[in-house]
């Protein structure tokens, strides 16, 4: 029985509908008969009717069929292609996602089915496929791997690796501490770097697109290259700002989530590039720390307005006081609205984040490490990655994960030339050898000209060969020096004129950069630091006692005022905005005052020095406008403009000492285009320059000091010698043959030619040239004869070409010449250093490591005919060597713990597919050779001061010793084509303290 009320309602509705709209009210007045609720019901039905145009009629009606297809409810157990559906995981913007099992490969996968709405547009589908295939080529641990893009049963799907974990969005709900936030950001940035390298921009970085694996916290970025294909942005890759806003308004639910991570250029509808991803990662990082996104607002439109306005995001400090200054700066730079001023590459952002993490870890380690009233500086990590503790019996030795490699980069960035010497200090074994690669390239005879001033007397004070820096007491009775034993540094005091010496600061890890006696000689100041961290100034009584911290954050040696009451030193703020400050303080470290600030490239050298009258301080400094060379600047202590002391320019000025009468300076400095620091005299105020020493070997950075009466100078001096040997592989040392008798033979490179001759670099007179000789040293032929420094020559497999790296101007690049030395041609340009060229077996490519000032060295290759180099890795890789079968490249590498490894990388580049641990004592630079069967790698390794050749099978078996030398170091080597013989540059390297007299 029909409800009478209902029938009444229908009747009134239809009757009213039949009338003209203006007549309806009057009709209803009458017909409703005073029933107000009935009347209201009819009115609202009429109103609804007016609005029903499409309602129920069309959209859902059409969609029904599509939904029928998409929803085809894949039941567990159903098979599609080789996949067996396990369960529905969820619904994404582009379709449904299932957990499935790959029946062929027996692994779990995620299957994402694309909605038909999406795949019906063939053009869009084509672009999607193209993009997705490019993205699927990305092979990076932080990028979700795409296994397959295909279709089955009429439906397109993407099969990806399956990650068990949570999205960053979910993780955000439980709060993330700063260290974890930085770590997650580093992983996302790593993913971006890999994608940007192949020109894939993600466009939609956000917490929803970031998964964190439950087991190990590994971060995976999803949907690379797919964002622009997603519905909403599919109709046009570039939306205008108006469109963006319209979408935001009309579909608040749809766009809201993405709007917060949109870069200003995206919101404006401009074309985007990798800097858009940098911005979005900045937003994500901000949100992880602050708990909300930077332009948080009630509506999408307000968020967009915030993004587009000139006003920057509120500072992070507002949300958390614990945010390190540096982190706030990094986020600020990533969130710079003008993309020209933002991080220009994800790589730059990644590097800053990694540096930040490292310095945080070091800080934490140092805070845990020791109370500073105890003798000795902080614990640190030896560059080999082994933990070393200052006091074996006490404290809480910890292992900060200092990256010696990155320390080096930092050093290089700061003082391109200076680092060559700086690094020698306290950087033991491995690090020294990495940098050995650098100094190697430059090793060059001192410039032509005078030798020593005839009267100069140089005598050796120590004979252990292990001194790295030194200072003499003002009365000339004592010399304090830093001695390196088994990778650790200790401070030793020696009485001049007596063989007795004693340890005053026990060996420790890290560095001791400089030593200075107080004016009365009772106290020694020394600057010590862990790797990559700023130095700390300590003082210790000359005759032994407890070390006490004086001040922190100091870059090199201190200079003392003539009255002994004040200190002068350099403080460096590293990072994107490099600042050096010359600071004066009381002798106890209090009352710091900045005397001079220099920014960017206009750096100051370490080791400021007070004039005898106390009125000025001198210091090495880079000279504008291009800041490629340095000179000495005189800074008045009481203010006033600084001025240059001399028009002379050097590559690098190390430290200086004043002559007691104020008539001039003695300086350790590096003449342009040489690599050895020599002693110079500069008159004052005349500024005339004269070189005092012209040794074949040089002096060590910051090691210069002088007695009060200016009669004796002390410095640490390095002496090396090397000769070329040919030896059969095996343990018969007596079968090794020395084939040259020079002093620096092969230091700059030795190699075999395909036909069994020796290619090497020899020093003849002032020049360093490439030579060819028989394996017994006969029939020597000089191939080059020009002044450019050439290192690491290699001959092509067909014997037609020789490649080498060579210094021209400020950069080192890869060069090629014909086998007879003619037709030199530069193959690479641009980078700071392109080093260590090696031929691919087909002779078509030359692979090498490329160092830039801003980043880690990467592996590249360049065609033998030149052209643009191709980057092969984006991780820290040096000294690449390609296997004889052409399939693999081995390179030096540091793992997460900064332990040295051999990385095995596919010859087309990418991530290491295998890492083999290397001993920390790989000698004299990473350099590797493959055995002819491509099964093992060969390198030189130092043990107890003796180098031998070792072989490491790539299957991971333990390394085997292949030569049996009982003495000397190996500076370089090459393996013959049959793998039976090795050519070696062998010799000695010592560093000792020398006394220099009669230098004026």
């Amino acid at each position: 029985m029909p409800d009478p009320h209902w029938e009444n309602l229908k009747e009134l509705f239809h009757a009213a509908l039949a009338l003209a709209p203006e007549q309806r009210a009057a009709y209803l007045d009458r017909a409703s008969n005073g029933d107000a609720s009935l009347r209201r019901a009819v009115e609202s039905l009429l109103k609804s009717h007016e609005e029903t145009e499409n309602f129920v009629d069309a959209p859902a009606y059409q969609a029904a069929a599509e939904m029928l297809v998409d929803s085809a409810d894949l039941k567990a157990g159903r098979n599609i292609a080789q996949y067996r559906i396990v369960q529905l995981l969820g619904e994404g913007g582009m379709g449904q996602v299932y957990l499935a099992e790959d029946g062929k490969l027996h692994r779990k996968v995620s299957l994402k089915f694309l909605s038909t709405r999406f795949t019906q547009d063939h053009e869009r589908l084509r672009r999607f496929e193209q993009e997705a295939r490019a993205a699927s080529a990305l092979n990076h641990p932080n990028i979700l791997t795409i296994h397959e893009i295909s279709q089955a049963e009429g439906r397109w799907y993407i099969a990806t690796e399956f990650i068990e974990g949570e999205t960053l969005r979910e993780r955000l709900q439980s709060g993330i501490n700063i260290d974890d936030a930085v770590d997650i950001a580093i992983q996302i940035a790593s993913a971006l770097v890999a994608a940007h390298r192949v020109k894939i921009v993600h466009r939609d970085i956000k917490p929803e697109n970031t998964m964190i694996r439950r087991d190990d916290g590994l971060v995976k970025v999803l949907d690379f290259g797919l964002a622009k294909m997603a519905p909403g942005s599919a109709k046009a890759e570039v939306n205008s700002e108006a469109e963006t806003r319209r979408e935001a308004n009309t579909a608040p639910g749809v766009v809201m989530g993405t709007v917060a991570y949109m870069s200003p250029e995206q919101a404006r509808g401009d074309a985007v590039d990798e800097r858009t991803d940098v911005w979005s990662l900045g937003v994500v990082l901000y949100e992880m720390i602050a708990g909300c996104s930077p332009f948080v607002a009630g509506t999408s439109n307000e968020i967009i307005s915030g993004i587009l306005s000139k006003k920057p995001a509120p500072p992070l400090k507002r949300y958390s006081r614990d945010v390190p200054e540096r982190l706030a700066e990094i986020v600020e730079k990533a969130l710079t609205k003008n993309r020209e001023e933002r991080y220009q590459t994800s790589q730059d952002l990644l590097i800053d984040l990694k540096r930040l993490r490292q310095s945080q870890e070091l800080k934490a380690a140092m805070e845990r490490g020791s109370s500073w009233e105890q003798p000795g500086p902080p614990i640190s990590q030896s560059p080999s990655g082994e933990a070393t503790s200052l006091r074996p019996e006490g404290g809480t030795p910890t292992v900060p994960s200092a990256s010696s490699a990155e320390y080096l980069i930092g050093g290089i960035r700061r003082h391109k030339r200076g680092v060559v010497i700086v690094s020698a200090l306290g950087l033991v074994a491995l690090t020294a050898t990495i940098f050995g690669a650098i100094r190697f390239m430059n090793r060059h005879q001192p410039i032509q000209g005078r030798g020593h001033s005839p009267a100069v007397r140089i005598t050796r004070l120590t004979d252990t060969g292990k001194a790295t820096t030194a200072a003499i007491s003002p009365d000339g009775n004592y010399v304090v020096y830093v001695r390196e034993d088994e990778g650790k540094l200790g401070l030793w005091l020696r009485q001049v004129g007596s063989p007795t010496e004693r340890e005053i600061v026990p060996p420790m890890g890290g560095q001791i950069r400089a030593t200075t006696f107080s004016r009365d000689g009772s106290v020694i100041y020394y600057t010590a630091s862990a790797f990559a961290s700023p130095g700390v100034l300590y003082q210790v009584p000359t005759l032994g006692g407890t070390s006490r911290k004086v001040l922190e954050n100091i870059s090199g040696p201190v200079g003392l005022s003539p009255d002994g009451k004040h200190l002068a030193f350099i403080r460096t703020v590293e990072g994107a905005h490099h600042v050096d400050s010359l600071i004066v303080a009381n002798i106890d470290g209090t009352e710091e005052r900045v005397l001079l600030r220099r920014e960017g490239q206009a750096y100051l050298d370490n080791g400021p020095n007070w004039s005898p009258d106390g009125k000025t301080i001198v210091c090495g400094a880079a000279v504008g406008p291009d800041f490629q060379l340095e000179s000495i600047v005189v800074i008045p202590v009481d203010g006033g403009p600084e001025r240059w002391m001399t028009p002379h320019r050097w590559s690098h000025v190390s430290n200086t000492v004043w002559l007691g009468d104020g008539s001039g300076l003695m300086v350790l400095a590096l003449e342009n285009r040489t690599v050895e620091l020599q002693l110079w005299h500069i008159s004052y105020p005349g500024g005339e320059v004269q070189r005092v020493t012209n040794d074949l070997n040089g002096y060590l950075e910051g090691s210069l000091s002088i007695t009060a009466d200016s009669s004796v100078i002390v410095a640490a001096h390095e002496d090396r010698s090397s000769r070329i040997w040919v030896a059969p592989m095996g343990k018969e040392e007596d079968r090794a043959r020395q084939i040259t008798a020079g002093k620096f033979d092969g230091l700059n490179g030795v190699a075999w030619t395909p036909d069994g001759k020796i290619l090497c670099v020899l020093k003849t007179g002032d020049d360093s040239d490439i030579w060819l000789m028989n394996r017994d040293g006969t029939e020597r032929k000089q191939l080059t004869a020009d002044s450019a420094v050439k290192t690491r020559p290699q001959m092509s497999p067909d014997g037609r070409h020789i490649v080498f790296d060579s210094v021209h101007g400020e950069s080192t690049n890869i060069w090629r010449m014909d086998a007879d030395g003619s037709n030199q041609k530069q193959l690479t340009r641009g980078a700071v250093w392109d080093l260590g060229p090696r031929f691919t077996p087909d002779g078509q490519w030359v692979i090498f490591s490329s160092w830039t000032e801003s980043g880690a060295p990467k592996m590249e290759k360049v065609s033998i005919d030149g052209g643009d180099p191709v980057q092969l890795t984006d991780s820290w890789t040096v000294a690449p060597a390609i296997s004889p079968d052409g399939k693999l490249i081995a390179a030096g590498y540091f793992d997460e713990q900064q332990a040295p490894h051999l990385a095995i990388i596919p010859s087309l580049g990418g991530q290491p597919i295998k890492l083999l641990p290397l001993p920390s004592s790989v000698v004299q630079g990473f350099f590797f050779a493959w055995t002819p069967d491509s099964s093992s790698l060969v390198y030189a390794q130092k043990h107890n001061g003796v180098s031998n050749i070792w072989g490491q099978p790539i299957n991971g078996d333990p390394p085997r010793q292949l030569t049996n030398f009982k003495s000397d170091l190996i500076f370089g080597f090459g393996l013959s084509a049959d793998g039976q013989q090795v050519v070696l540059a062998r010799g000695t390297e010592t560093r000792d303290v020398v006394l220099i007299r009669d230098f004026r």
């Binding site: 709405r117 019906q120 439906r155 993405t258």
Partner: protein
Amino acid sequence: MESAAHQVTRLLRKWSDGDESALDQLMPFVHDELHRLAHRHMRREKPGHVLQTSALINEAYLRLVDQPQIRWENRSHFFGIAARLMRSILVDDARKRNSAKRGGSLIQVPLDEAASLAQEQAANVTALNEALERLEAIDARQGQIVELRFFGGLSIEETANVLQVSPGTVMRDWTFARAWLRTEMTST
């Protein structure tokens, strides 16, 4: 073994003769066939082509039913079944989508925070279904009309045929039902 067409025809006949259990047996046939056809259409249709539900059902009918054996009324019955099926498929699907959206799955996948178009529709379908259930309780014929028109994609005439009423009646009821459903859905 009895052919599918035979079976469907027999079941249709049974159902039109008042055997309700025949409907339950009919459902799987129609369901599978509809899915299969929908897929095939999607694969071969040109971009922009909208797949009409009624066309799909019609094709399913032609394929499933042993034609010479069947009375004209069976076709109407078939459309009635198909519409009901379509409704249950779409509503189930919509429920699933809605629950997935709420994070009902075990392990999260890259769920875009924003609802997809399908999800919006899913929400609409669910709401519509609930309103339709209320309408059916008040006025069964109007409920049927909506089911046939909206879920079955039938025209006014086809609907009139299925229900054996005049097209004018269908039109009137349809107009009212639309207005009522909309009022119902916007006021709750």
